[in-house]
Amino acid sequence: MRAEGGRAILIEGVEKAFGATRVLKGVSLTLRQGEFMALVGPSGCGKTTLLRIVAGLESADAGRVVIGGRDVTRARPADRDIAMVFQNYALYPHLTVAQNLAVPLAMRRLSALERLPLVHRLVPGNAARRRAIAARVGEAAAMLRIAHLLDRRPGQLSGGQRQRVALGRALVREPAAFLMDEPLSNLDAELRAGTRQEIVDLHRRAGVTTIYVTHDQVEAMTMADRVAVMMEGEVLQLGTPREVYDDPCDIRVAGFLGSPRINALPGIATENGVSLGTLALPLRAAAAPGSAVTIGLRPEAIRVAPLGLACRVEHLEYLGAETLLHARLEAPEARIVARLPVAAGEGLSRGDAVRLGADWERALVFGADGKRLALHQAARIDA
């Protein structure tokens, strides 16, 4: 059971250019209320710019942003009711943890006069409001287990603790949306895995609509309800982690998700399938016969098979639970990475000839423009 908080977000045709560089080329996304969406892509793809436009820290050249049914394209960040977690945390170094957590509440609930030191004591009702803020700060701190740090300053905290305070500053309010800009990228690997789960749990409890920007596909796949894969200023695909991985619409999406990378093998479309070197595969793609296509095969779909393609072993990486086989396909010229059970890799060594086959029904076929081609029927061959 999970809570559904926050508001739905609609991003429509957003464009942005810095000088002559078009950073966003008309991006549209819709987030349902309470949804956790990861914006993932290589650095420079425009994901952070898009997030900053949603936050109001950057203005869009065209398009609009609607939060909870209200068009906020021209609204200031403070008027959008969003909370943001920054990559380097952006904590106020001169304020204690408690004060840092209280800022978003004080700015909204207290007038400028009430925020003045000393003067605030004179304003009626102020004490009660301040107590309410302190209580809320206490709750948020307890939720993140940083209650014992409330009197410290950010400079006295470890990276992981700062990260929690940054999360806490977003959590104290009940905003329409959380916007997170690579919040885990400054943590070491171990801390990152733990905090990843924690953010997911927090989201499950509070259920506030969240946009999570990351360049790390593991974060995107493990945390998000849906993943938007961005490249060169465009959203190439939006879908659940399963959809974008198993059913990528573009060779670039397929190439970005998954490690080791998907194998891209050069094939040629024929009347009744695709030919790959000596193999005729019954993958009847919607492509003109004779045109070049790319066959995408995930490393885990490849296995050693006596009737497969002739390859030569380049090197083997023994990873304990499995072995990665790097091989060169001779005709057509291509490199192949296969993820093999350790037993299958035994006895192979550099320079050996090996025949590799695959679960061809898991093969993906892409046209010359990189777009995924539909297949007319599921294929099954034994190779």
């Binding site: 960040p77 403070a78 990559q87 300053r153």
Partner: protein, 305 residues
């Protein structure tokens, strides 16, 4: 292996020994110069301030604190001390206030940044004596453009540098003009060091107005810069000499006498070395007190551990 071990131990010892002798060799020239030209003379000055020595006199007597006692009753010294402190109290806050304003204005936009920075900084690199001469012309009671401009709006001419009522005002104005660019440049450096994400965080946290963001981010994060600027500007102001020497020579009637100029006159015009040394010691004590306040008291309040 044993040979290698046997070799490496004495080698390290000679290396360290060599390092130490090389260090002494490298430091010696500077060390000797430091003693001969700065520390030694400064100690001598302190000693001289307890003597009645006059340049050319064959003998000197140690007179204890008599020079200081005389300073306490010398009306010229009182004028010099109070004028210097007035100068610091006016020029320092005025240049810091205006300088922060100018720096914030320059930083808040992108147009003509480098141009304005250069314009405001120009007086810092200009030959002050020459510029004082230019100011003298601007402020000339009869032919000066300033009085002519004032006359156009019906204000009677002011004897800027010649009347004891106005002379400190004029020197302070020139002082602000001279120090402003320095303050602006230091604040600009401080402002660019503030992470842009903090402003972004402040905006999403609800700091709508520029004033809110100034209070939440700019002012606290400028703390170390401000403290530094306050100390440096105060010391620069304490050292006021060039404009006084070039424009007023302490006049009229000691109305613009300042510490260093009085020290210069007593020492190098009247050759009362002992007395002049005592004035220098007072000057040094004020400078040291300022630095002490900075490092011991205030530093902790603006650095966030």
């Amino acid at each position: 292996m044993p040979e290698a071990l046997a070799l490496s131990a004495p080698r390290r010892a000679t290396a360290v020994l060599g390092e130490a002798s090389a260090a002494w060799f490298l430091v010696a020239p500077a060390g000797i110069a430091l003693f001969l030209l700065l520390l030694g003379p400064s100690a001598a000055l302190l000693a001289l301030s307890f003597s009645d020595w006059e340049l050319g006199a064959p003998t000197l007597a140690w007179i204890g604190f008599e020079n200081y006692a005389e300073l306490a009753t010398d009306p010229v010294f009182r004028a010099a001390l109070s004028n210097t402190l007035v100068y610091v109290r006016v020029v320092m806050p005025a240049s810091i206030g205006l300088g922060l304003g100018v720096a914030l204005l320059i930083e808040s936009g992108t147009r003509l940044r480098a141009f304005f920075r250069a314009v405001y900084f120009l007086p810092v690199v200009s030959l002050l004596v020459a510029m004082a001469t230019a100011w003298q012309y601007l402020l000339h009671p009869t032919i000066g453009p300033v009085n002519k401009l004032l006359a156009m709006v019906g204000i009677a001419p002011v004897n800027w540098l010649g009347s004891s009522d106005w002379v400190m005002v004029s020197l302070c104005m020139i002082g602000v003009w001279e120090n402003l660019g320095f303050v602006v440049v230091l604040f600009l450096a401080g402002l660019t060091a503030i992470p842009a994400d903090l402003y972004a965080a402040a905006e999403t946290d609800g700091a709508r107005s520029g004033l809110d963001r100034f209070r939440l981010v700019t002012w606290p994060l400028l703390g170390p810069t401000t403290l530094f600027v306050v100390t440096i500007t105060a010391i620069r102001c304490l050292r006021v000499f060039d404009t006084v020497a070039a424009l007023t020579r302490g006049g009229p009637n000691n109305a613009s006498e300042v510490l260093l100029h009085m020290m210069y006159r007593e020492g190098f015009s009247y050759f009362r070395i002992g007395y002049s040394a005592a004035i220098t010691v007072v000057f040094l004590v004020i400078v040291l007190a300022l630095m002490l306040v900075q490092t011991r008291l205030l530093d902790r309040q603006v650095h966030y551990g």
